[in-house]
């Protein structure tokens, strides 16, 4: 009697243990399903863009669509570069984004260093001003900027656009780098200066190498936003041959003649490519940049 009772409680115990484990497994299963759902939601649209860019028109426009291309081809990319001005725009954007990045880094590194090392009252004011400039919506700036460039006779010129890009990106650079410099101990330059280096030499030879990761994330951030910039380019540039990438590709959308989805998808892949490469290889810097650029700004 008693043995059968304990046997019953044994089975009861094990079955509740099984139930518990089942519940835990079910819980994990749901978590994995949610994880798969989140990843699918994030990358499926992009995957579809890439897949469609390597499909021939016959498959893109077919009634039944396949997920895997039956006859993968680079024809869309060839058309994109041969028939449209995409190549020119890409060159313009690459050039201007590089120039802007270099200028912003040079200007904001020197200014951010001075602001982090010397404490004068009006530097505080300066900090506030740059923050305000950073918060300013581009759409609010673009009309006055058009006026300004118009009077400087710099409308429809890369020099004008370069100045605008640099002027509007310097506040971000300042915010990102200032907090970075504040984290570098002053003892480092003091040591260099007791060894006979001037203040500027100490900055240039001792501090800048220390700040490399900060410069890197700021640089990648500035390059990425300039590479894909649309609004300023679309207003301040009007010759097709001088246009930038995003503004150039946007003209495809308002002109029906090139409504070939395969070619448009190839354009999408090409614009995203440098950003994806940065992300794949320099993720560490990039995420640090998003974080600081965002929190401080």
């Amino acid at each position: 009697m008693s043995s059968s009772f304990s046997g019953a409680s044994q089975t009861l115990f094990t079955s509740s243990a099984i139930l518990l484990r089942l519940r835990r497994d079910l819980h994990r299963l749901i978590l994995y399903l949610l994880l798969i759902l989140a990843v699918t939601w994030a990358i499926l649209p992009l995957l579809w863009v890439f897949i469609s860019s390597i499909k021939p028109d016959s498959e893109t426009y077919a009634f039944t669509q396949t997920f895997i291309p039956l006859h993968p081809t680079l024809q869309n990319y060839v058309t994109l570069f041969k028939v449209t001005r995409f190549g020119t725009w890409m060159k313009n954007s690459a050039l201007l984004a590089t120039e802007t990045t270099i200028a912003v880094l040079a200007l904001s590194a020197t200014a951010a260093y001075a602001m982090s090392r010397f404490r004068y009252r009006y530097f505080e004011l300066l900090g506030r001003m740059t923050l305000m400039a950073y918060m300013m919506p581009p759409i609010v700036l673009v009309i006055p900027l058009f006026f300004l460039l118009f009077h400087m006779k710099l409308v429809n010129s890369h020099i004008g656009l370069f100045l605008v890009y640099t002027g509007t990106r310097v506040p971000v650079g300042l915010w990102m780098l200032r907090s970075y410099f504040q984290g570098i101990p002053v003892a480092l330059e003091e040591a260099a200066m007791t060894d006979g280096a001037t203040r500027f030499q100490a900055f240039y030879k001792v501090i800048l190498p220390q700040a490399f990761p900060g410069l890197m994330s700021t640089g990648i951030f500035v390059f990425s936003v300039t590479w894909q910039e649309f609004l300023f380019a679309s207003i301040l540039i009007f010759s097709a041959s001088k246009q930038m990438l995003s503004a150039g590709v946007a003209t495809f959308l308002s002109e029906d003649w090139i409504y070939s989805w395969g070619v448009l998808m190839a354009a999408g892949v090409m614009i995203s490519l440098p950003l994806v490469l940065f992300y794949a290889f320099l993720q560490r810097y990039l995420i640090a940049g998003w974080g600081t650029g965002a929190v401080k700004g």
């Binding site: 649209p45 579809w48 893109t60 200007l107 020197t110 759409i139 609010v140 009309i143 003091e190 995203s272």
Partner: protein
């Protein structure tokens, strides 16, 4: 903002005090000058221009007081755009945060393939506005878009729908695209904060028999709160001023269905050639931005105080 830990006066030991000042000025001036000319002055000029009638062809300005503002406030299009801006900002940020909090908690669990999943979930944030518009236009295309095909295959609809041809649906899909692109940003910010949640607190609560929800509600959430507030502020401002995504999606159409305030400014200035009213809209937008940031900053200070 954190104060520099080191006293700059320390450098006076090197008797560089005077030259330091001029060096500092020299180092700051070029950056300052550019910011002044290309960001601060244009803003002031824009505010100033809102009180003028501006000839679109010659850019000549004639003072006309508050006429632009009166004209604007009488236009239903202005109020509709303001309403759409509010709908766009509130719905995208709210859903972003619900999804973002969920996904970041999910990615914080010890699951296999977590790092790979983290990397991939952040992908949409990389997508440039013009590519975002290309992607969604392609997916939603009435004749060959995959979304219509899917709905038809499942028998949910019988003939393709022109999603971007309907003002309400177009706005809905701009909102969905906005959520898609910016949820990763929320995830990124929250994941960073989750790494530093005091584990002892959570474990103590677990020992005391607290349920998962109670732990989230009383420990994790308060700990996340300051970051949530900052991120909410950033997302609200950035979504409110967002031009590229909304404009490129359907160029503000159809029937102004996706015209938010920034798109309205663009329309007034470059399509309707009404530069004065465009400047007035900009000024009102700045005013709203200021009010929102002020509200959030006081909320943030309270959230920080509650933690300590």
């Amino acid at each position: 903002m954190s104060k520099p830990s080191v006293q700059p006066q320390a450098s006076s030991r090197f008797s560089f005090a005077v030259s330091d000042f001029w060096l500092a000025v020299l180092m700051v001036s070029p950056a300052l000058l550019l910011v002044l000319i290309f960001a601060i002055l244009p803003m002031i000029q824009g505010l100033y221009a809102s009180f003028f009638r501006i000839e679109a062809a010659t850019l000549k300005m004639h003072f006309n007081g508050i006429t632009n503002y009166v004209w604007l406030l009488k236009k239903p299009l202005f109020w509709q755009s303001l309403l759409r801006s509010l709908i766009w900002v509130i719905s995208t940020t709210v859903v972003q945060f619900i999804l973002g909090i969920g996904i970041s908690l999910l990615l914080h669990q010890e699951l296999r393939g977590r790092n790979l999943a983290r990397g991939m979930v952040l992908f949409p944030y990389l997508v440039p506005a013009v590519v975002l518009s290309l992607t969604w236009r392609f997916i939603l295309d009435p004749t060959m878009g995959v979304f219509n095909r899917m709905l038809m295959d499942f028998g949910l609809i019988h003939r393709p729908i022109s999603f971007l041809g309907n003002p309400h649906l177009a706005l809905l899909f701009v909102i969905i695209a906005g959520i898609w692109k910016y949820t990763p940003f929320v995830v990124l910010m929250l994941l960073a904060r989750l790494q530093v949640v005091p584990v002892e607190l959570e474990e103590a609560a677990k020992l005391d028999g607290a349920s998962g929800w109670q732990i989230f509600r009383h420990i994790t959430l308060p700990w996340l709160m300051p970051v949530i507030v900052v991120t909410l502020l950033l997302r609200t401002i950035w979504t409110f001023r967002q031009f590229d995504i909304v404009y490129l999606f359907v160029f503000g159409g159809p029937l102004f269905g996706t015209t938010t305030l920034p798109v309205l400014i663009h329309y007034l200035a470059f399509d309707a050639q009404q530069l004065g009213p465009a400047a007035a809209t900009s000024a009102l937008m700045l005013l709203l931005l200021l009010a929102v940031s002020w509200g959030y900053f006081s909320w943030y200070e309270r959230a920080e105080k509650r933690l300590s």
